[in-house]
């Protein structure tokens, strides 16, 4: 566990526990699909400036919960807020404007745009994105140049500077994950939500991805990510939230959660062969 997790050292490892400085608070969030209750989260808080992992067996509702929080799905009931601002019923693009950006389990790189175009798309408040202003190049030329510069810097940081003019569709799975993360940073989010950032990434890239995620925390951003791989969770997260069958069943520092019999049960219920702590 990292030192920055110390702020939570005094926090009890139990579901729905209050945190000293929560940035995201969700209350009574429910989502039905037909007769199935996919998400039923009573209360959960995410601490500012830390890396929080959201784990759970397949079908636990992690991705659906992500979708609800970021406006990509509509909850049947519940309230949730980001930094004091209610996000309930807010459209996905407006959620992004409040300072949360998410990525997707299946990467959504824009195949037939180049890497640099992908990056530039992420910048917010672009004057040239208005229909009328778009016609008058001088109105946005300077801003575009600044955006491109920032995009290039971010690409360098993710060691992708040399790929700027390649089509995103030609990148490998891991490179797409990196691109998606870098593109999310173009929005300059205060919180970034990653849905299975390691899925489909070859081991050589995994370490660099992890390093990038830790760097986000160093920059002062809050990170929440969905992950299956317990090793990854141990390595980088400050706090772990466990979901099963739609509800939060446990919370706590990684080592505490890993030893929680409820968590082991939840995993064993669906994955008899899963040895917690080993990569799948």
């Amino acid at each position: 566990m990292s030192a920055s997790g110390d702020v939570l050292a005094q926090v009890a490892a139990e579901p729905g526990v209050p945190k000293p400085d929560p940035i995201l608070i969700a209350d009574g969030v429910m989502r039905h699909f037909g007769g199935l209750l996919a998400v039923d989260v009573d209360h959960v808080e995410v601490q500012r400036g830390l890396i929080t992992a959201l784990i759970g067996p397949n079908g636990a509702g992690k991705t659906t919960f992500f979708n609800l929080l970021t406006g990509f799905d509509e909850a049947n009931s519940g309230r949730w807020s980001f930094d004091g601002q209610s996000l309930e019923g807010m459209a996905a693009h407006r959620v992004a404007h409040t300072g949360i950006v998410r990525t997707f389990q299946l990467t959504k790189s824009l195949s037939r745009l180049t890497v640099i175009e992908n990056m530039k798309l992420g910048a917010t408040g672009q004057r040239g994105e208005g229909l009328m202003a778009a016609l008058v190049r001088p109105l946005w030329r300077a801003q575009e140049r600044a955006i491109e510069e920032r995009a290039q810097q971010l690409l360098e940081r993710f060691s992708m500077g040399h790929m700027r003019d390649e089509y995103a569709g030609s990148l490998s799975g891991g490179q797409r994950k990196l691109l998606e993360m870098a593109r999310a940073l173009m929005v300059e989010p205060r919180m970034i939500m990653l849905d299975e950032p390691m899925a489909g990434v070859n081991p050589a890239l995994t370490q660099s991805l992890l390093a990038h995620i830790k760097e986000l925390r160093t920059e002062g951003r809050t990170v929440m990510f969905v992950e299956h791989d317990m090793d990854v969770v141990h390595d980088i997260s400050d706090w772990v939230i466990v979901m099963a069958e739609g509800s939060v069943i446990a919370e706590g520092p990684p080592d505490v959660v890993g030893a929680n019999p409820l968590v082991i049960d939840a995993y064993l219920g669906t994955h008899h062969d899963l040895d917690l702590g080993d990569p799948e």
């Binding site: 037909g34 799905d73 509509e74």
Partner: protein
């Protein structure tokens, strides 16, 4: 050129050549016998007469001063003919081809209307040197005398008939969507094919309708199988996107439709048997034997098909592939085989639907296309890909279409407008369909 690409191109080329070749041969065979004359003086002529009862006898009186507008198929006006004292009109046309004859209903005397509302606007095919005779019969405007509520039962009875035909045509469309995800915009052409082949067998070859119909159905089934085997399966295996496949089906549909127009002509043509029938009076409404057989046959077939899907191994396999193709193939079901079967069955049902539609409203080159959007409405309302939903959807759509004419009785084309408006309403109000579960659509 890259070798693999070359191979793919030649392979695909063979596929298309086969497909087009087969189509061409089939068309040549039917139409080789069609005679054509050559002389001058093409015209459209005919009478407008009013059927009245005089001294207890039915007599036909000529109706003067009725205007009939003749225009070319692309809309250019040819002229407006007016009936003389004997009720006769004639309008020379510039040459052979397809024309539209539209009777100006405002020029009719008061209180009378066309006996057959469908005659208000007719497409007429003029062959070289031939003239076409159009006879219009008027009668008391029964709609006015019977009263709005009085004709409601008849409207509903017609609705049942329409919905049965829509359902039979749409089952295949729904199953194809369910098993492959393709919105087949060329499905209407399978419907028309059944009708045209049966019509040719009936009118050109001289077979009785009951013998001609199975041939038409077989032709549509074979066309369905050929569609899948020669076109859609190779495309699917190539990984062609659904959007591309949808556009391909549109192109195919347009091409085939105009091939029909080319050979069949633009005029509506009736079958030799069962074209004119006396209606049985059931009190508030009346139906002809043809209508009754249509409804009965469709009901039996639809129920039978539902049983087939529910009870038999193959039927269950179809539903499994419809539900989840990947899972189905994982359990050992040969998805390609199932899809081929679906195309065959869907084609046969579409062909039958086309023949029934042709018996009801005559055969036209675009019979099936005119039904296509209604079929889409039905299967969408039923929840895309759900064959039982398609039946329910067809029932609602068929009823709705007839009810539109009841609500707005005076303008014929409102029937189509009503159908289109219904389709849009359906998609807006219940995009997930009647039986479908709500899912996020964007």
């Amino acid at each position: 050129m890259h070798v693999a690409m070359l191979r793919r191109l030649t392979k695909g080329g063979r596929v298309v050549r086969k497909l087009l070749g087969g189509l061409f041969v089939a068309l040549v065979v039917w139409f080789a016998a069609t005679p054509s004359a050559n002389a001058d003086g093409e015209e459209i002529t005919g009478f407008v007469r009013n059927e009245v009862t005089k001294d207890g006898k039915a007599v036909r009186e000529p109706v003067p001063n009725v205007k009939i507008a003749i225009s070319s198929l692309d809309g250019g006006s040819v002229g407006v003919a007016t009936t003389d004292e004997t009720g006769k009109f004639s309008q020379p046309v510039p040459g052979p081809g397809d024309y539209v004859a539209e009777i100006d209903q405002t020029s009719l005397p008061k209180d009378v209307a066309l006996r057959q509302a469908g005659q208000a606007k007719l497409t007429v095919n003029i062959r070289p040197g031939e003239s076409q005779i159009l006879n219009y019969f008027l009668g008391k405007d029964t709609r006015a005398t019977k009263g709005r509520w009085g004709i409601l039962p008849q409207t509903l009875a017609n609705g049942v008939k329409s919905s049965m035909i829509i359902a039979v045509c749409a089952v295949g469309l729904s199953l194809i969507y369910g098993t492959t995800g393709l919105s087949n915009f060329a499905h209407g052409e399978l419907v028309t094919l059944g009708a045209i082949v049966a019509w040719n067998m009936n009118q050109q070859v001289g077979l009785h309708v009951l013998l001609a119909a199975p041939i038409g159905i077989a032709a549509a089934a074979i066309a369905g199988l050929a569609n899948e085997r020669l076109l859609w399966r190779p495309l699917r295996h190539k990984g062609t996107s659904l959007t591309s496949m949808m556009i391909i089906s549109i192109g195919l549909g347009i091409g085939v439709r105009y091939v029909y127009l080319y050979f069949f002509g633009g005029r509506a043509k009736a079958f030799r048997q069962y074209a004119v029938q006396k209606a049985h009076d059931f009190g508030p409404f009346s139906l002809t034997s043809r209508d009754l057989v249509t409804i009965g046959l469709c009901l039996v077939l639809l129920v039978g098909f539902a049983m087939y899907l529910l009870r038999t191994r193959m039927g269950k396999a179809i539903r499994a592939v419809s539900d989840n193709p990947d899972l189905a193939s994982a359990t050992g079901i040969d998805a390609d085989h199932v899809i081929l079967l679906v195309w065959g069955l869907g084609g046969a049902l579409a062909g039958l639907g086309g023949i029934l539609l042709g018996l009801d409203q005559q055969v036209r080159w675009d019979s099936g296309f005119s039904l296509l959007l209604l079929m889409f409405a039905a299967i969408t309302l039923g929840g895309l890909g759900n064959p039982f939903g398609a039946l329910a959807g067809a029932f609602v759509i068929g009823m709705f279409v007839e009810l539109w004419t009841w609500i707005f009785p005076s303008v014929v084309e409102l029937k189509t407008l009503g159908a289109l408006a219904t389709l849009i309403l359906v998609l807006l109000v219940r995009p997930q369909g009647l039986l479908g579960r709500k899912e996020r659509t964007g």
